[in-house]
């Protein structure tokens, strides 16, 4: 059944989009991430312009993180104070990201920026995750105990001023790295159409030493608010959010996430991390090929935007 997307100006098969929502939702539920880094490229692939894809996916991620955040909230497995502090940075980052997004779009370099950012970010993060995952599995295979860093150990992050105590996470840490992380997530999310859960979770664990039990819930609250505000900002400045597309994606996404979460609980965590790493790396490589291979046509046409 074909339906017409009013903002993307494109007819699509409703079942195809629903299936994409389900598939990405399944993965996002399995790994506890938003899945924007998969959804945005998929939408671009079916013909949605990168600008509309990025703007629309932000609302899709808002929906899937809302459903996750509510479940974590019921179990009190999140640190609201930490999430709000991250958010302070996140909002500034989102505003800056949407501003840069608009600027790049007007000079015709948005698509290339999205492409290069995907390659750099997904390539490096995916690569690290794969290496780390393989090492963890090898260690487990050789029967050596998993080397966890000592929870009390301090890094340079702990030497910074403006310290605040976060009760739920049981950490006492400077506000500077917290706000900086929030800022990065907001900025990256607005430009690349990703919630950044796969970036935020490792940063919270390794840089801030947030305990694992509150990490995912906290990350989801942050993602939820940054992505909801990115939706509003994209809609207000660029008029690019396709509500019809977003709704189909959301419905598929939240259903898929439930099944993904059940599948994820049956897998061992180091396997899960390796799998996620491979996935992230694969998407990064896919973008790299697009940039490196000679395009079918070196010319492209696009209506002049931002003059209305």
């Amino acid at each position: 059944m074909e339906i017409y997307l009013p903002i993307a100006d494109l007819p699509v098969n409703i079942f195809l989009v629903l299936a994409m929502g389900l598939a990405v939702g399944f993965i996002s539920g399995m790994f506890g991430i938003g899945g924007g880094f998969l959804m945005t490229p998929l939408l671009i692939f079916i013909g949605v312009s990168p600008a509309v894809a990025v703007a629309t996916v932000s609302s899709h991620i808002a929906a899937s993180s809302m459903s996750g955040a509510v479940s974590y909230w019921r179990r009190r497995a999140l640190d609201l104070a930490l999430a709000l502090m991250l958010l302070a940075g996140g909002i500034i980052g989102t505003v800056a990201g949407v501003w840069l997004f608009t600027l790049l779009r007007s000079v015709g370099q948005l698509d290339i920026t999205i492409g290069v950012s995907y390659v750099l970010l997904l390539g490096s993060v995916g690569g690290m995750m794969v290496i780390e995952g393989v090492r963890a599995i090898l260690r487990a295979h050789q029967g050596k105990p998993v080397q966890l860093r000592h929870p009390g150990s301090h890094t340079w992050v702990h030497g910074l001023p403006l310290k605040i105590r976060f009760k739920e996470s049981r950490i006492y840490i400077s506000a500077i790295p917290v706000v900086a992380i929030g800022l990065t997530m907001g900025f990256v999310g607005a430009i690349m159409g990703i919630g950044g859960g796969f970036l935020l979770v490792p940063m919270l664990i390794y840089l801030l030493r947030v305990p694992t039990n509150v990490v995912i819930g906290t990350s989801m609250v942050l993602t939820l608010i940054t992505m909801a505000s990115a939706t509003i900002l994209h809609a207000a400045t660029n008029h690019l959010v396709d509500a019809v597309l977003a709704l189909i994606l959301m419905v598929g996404g939240v259903i898929g996430a439930q099944f993904g979460a059940r599948a994820g609980q049956k897998m061992r965590s180091e396997r899960l991390r390796l799998l996620l790493g491979v996935l992230v790396l694969a998407v990064g490589l896919r973008f790299a090929f697009d940039l490196i291979l000679k395009p079918e046509d070196v010319f492209s046409i696009r209506p002049l935007e931002g003059v209305e």
Partner: protein, 256 residues
């Protein structure tokens, strides 16, 4: 007095163009809804040629060239080049107020209907359509073999937005003709002008106009309109929809 009347009559006869045939044309539909053209739509152009008492006998049959011009928009053509190993947009040209859709339908190949000079003068055919580019402060069309112009036409044709079909119009009787206008799903909303020209013996002897409109109606128009006119409100509504969907899912699938 009689002399004055004769002069007036002579002036009228001389001033009136030597148009002996009347051309009448219309379309099967003047309003197309965007939801109905998901797989593209075909409109029928039909019309008749009415010779009158003054018609001179023609050596050859009549020919029709119809030009369908979609709403005008400004488009940017970009060229990619390899920079440090990756393909980047390096050069861009802005085509100012060019037709978003352009179809040239005719009974015969254009060159067989009229000579090159006539075609150029009347701007008939993709090769003779004005595609003004912004070059610095000036706006001008460039030579026909300009690479950006060529690329623009090639991409538009590949997307079936520009087309030249030399057998799309047929005469059912010596004076009654029928043509088909194919509009792809990608065609933008707006008014499409249909300009029909009648040719005989290599010269244009009559022309007429018609038009149709592609409209977004109902739901699509409401969404697109709200997004453009009430961006902030639309954003809040979409965000609220996302939160509701997420919350609803967590309630439906609640396991604890």
């Amino acid at each position: 007095m009689r002399r004055a009347a004769a002069a007036l009559f002579a002036a009228l006869v001389l001033a009136a163009p030597a148009r002996a045939e009347r051309l009448i044309a219309s379309l099967s539909s003047h309003r197309v809804q965007i939801t109905s053209i998901i797989n593209g739509v075909e409109l029928v152009l039909f019309g008749t040629v009415e010779p009158d008492a003054n018609s001179v006998p023609r050596n050859n049959a009549y020919d029709i060239i119809a030009t369908v011009t979609g709403p005008r928009e400004t488009e940017v053509t970009r060229r990619k080049e390899r920079v440090f190993g990756i393909w980047v947009n390096v050069e861009a040209r802005t085509f100012v107020e060019v037709p978003s859709y352009l179809a040239v339908l005719s009974t015969k190949p254009l060159q067989a209907i009229a000579n090159e000079d006539t075609l150029r003068r009347l701007q008939i055919g993709l090769a003779h359509t004005l595609l003004p580019q912004q070059i610095g402060p000036d706006i001008a069309d460039v030579v026909a073999d300009d690479q950006f112009r060529q690329a623009f036409l090639r991409i538009k044709q590949a997307r079936r937005l520009y087309s030249e079909s030399t057998n799309a119009v047929t005469f059912l009787t010596p004076t009654l003709f029928r043509g088909s206008i194919e509009v792809p799903a990608e065609a933008p909303i707006g008014t499409y002008d249909v300009d029909v020209k009648l040719f005989a013996d290599g010269a244009m002897i009559a022309r007429t106009n018609s038009a149709f409109e592609i409209v977004k109606v109902g739901f699509e128009r409401f969404i697109a309109g709200s997004a453009a006119d009430h961006g902030i409100l639309y954003g809040f509504a979409t965000a609220a929809m996302a939160l509701m969907t997420g919350w609803f899912a967590s309630v439906v699938f609640r396991r604890d």
